[in-house]
Symmetry: none
Subunit: 165 residues, 2 copies
Amino acid sequence: MRLSDTIEEFIKTMMREDQEACELKRNELAEYFHCAPSQINYVLSTRFTPDHGYSITSQRGGGGYVRIVRIQASRVDRLTYYLNERIGDSIDEQRAQIICRQLKEKGTISDREAEIMSAAVSRGALGVPVPEDLKNVLRARILKSMLIASARQRPAAPDSGAGEE
Amino acid sequence: MRLSDTIEEFIKTMMREDQEACELKRNELAEYFHCAPSQINYVLSTRFTPDHGYSITSQRGGGGYVRIVRIQASRVDRLTYYLNERIGDSIDEQRAQIICRQLKEKGTISDREAEIMSAAVSRGALGVPVPEDLKNVLRARILKSMLIASARQRPAAPDSGAGEE
DNA sequence: CAATTCCTGACTTACTTTGACCAATAAGAG
DNA sequence: CTCTTATTGGTCAAAGTAAGTCAGGAATTG
């Protein structure tokens, strides 16, 4: 069995115990498996991607960590679909807006979230001197990042009024 | 857990008791946590800056102290302030992230929205071949667009744990 | 044997902690 | 009242800790 597979298993076992998230120390894990620390990154980047239903956050420096969060199973397929089929490496403004609207109508994201996402990929926001092609690449990256971030969290509560002040 | 985080927590707890302000003795606190006094300054300068919504005043010499005051402003003032002063025409990733976190703590945006905004201006999302300066200009434009979009909507419903940590 | 996947190490970036030295203030001495 | 001196807090740079990136070599697979 490959080391990567062993490490993958190990992490998934941790995951099973902690249910929806687990935290690990990259260097400790590397030492435990007698491998280079970057091996851990390899495993994470090949087996714990959003497509696989995971999202990673980390922190460097003293007390650093790597946190792996499981994306709810019910959302993985749809997320994968959006990330790969609908968005891909490049997307124009109009199609991006449509996606935001659809996600809102399906209740995947709230009205506010849809507005925020739309705004982030709007012509206005990206009105900076770079070629249109590049803007579309940017749109794709930004939109995907936002979707992954929203999938990582608990589902959107249908937003109603109320707030501070 | 990191010492800095522990100290941050400690101060925030003091803060909660005393409501909007608290006063501490730098050396006492350092001794209490068995650390260098300058560690306290580190915590203050990384977690209690005006950007984080706090203002610090201090006095040296006998009977010296450090006083931490929470800044509060109306929603409209805050939005104007954020748009013009804090973000401006260009902003780096870290500062953008702090703004998202602070808006969340203030309850202006939800946890999910904070994650989404953070993701939109993250290094990952903007990881495209353009010079760093331009990325910061983009960050500013994107973040401002999102803020304006969220302000146009009804206030965020606190979607989870809510409140500042 | 070509393509893919796996694994490593050198280099980079990010965050934390400490310590040596500096600056301000209060309190007491002259 | 002025001049020390003890008592605080501030600054900054260096060392410490930990994760990320990337190019390339090794192993596996078709």
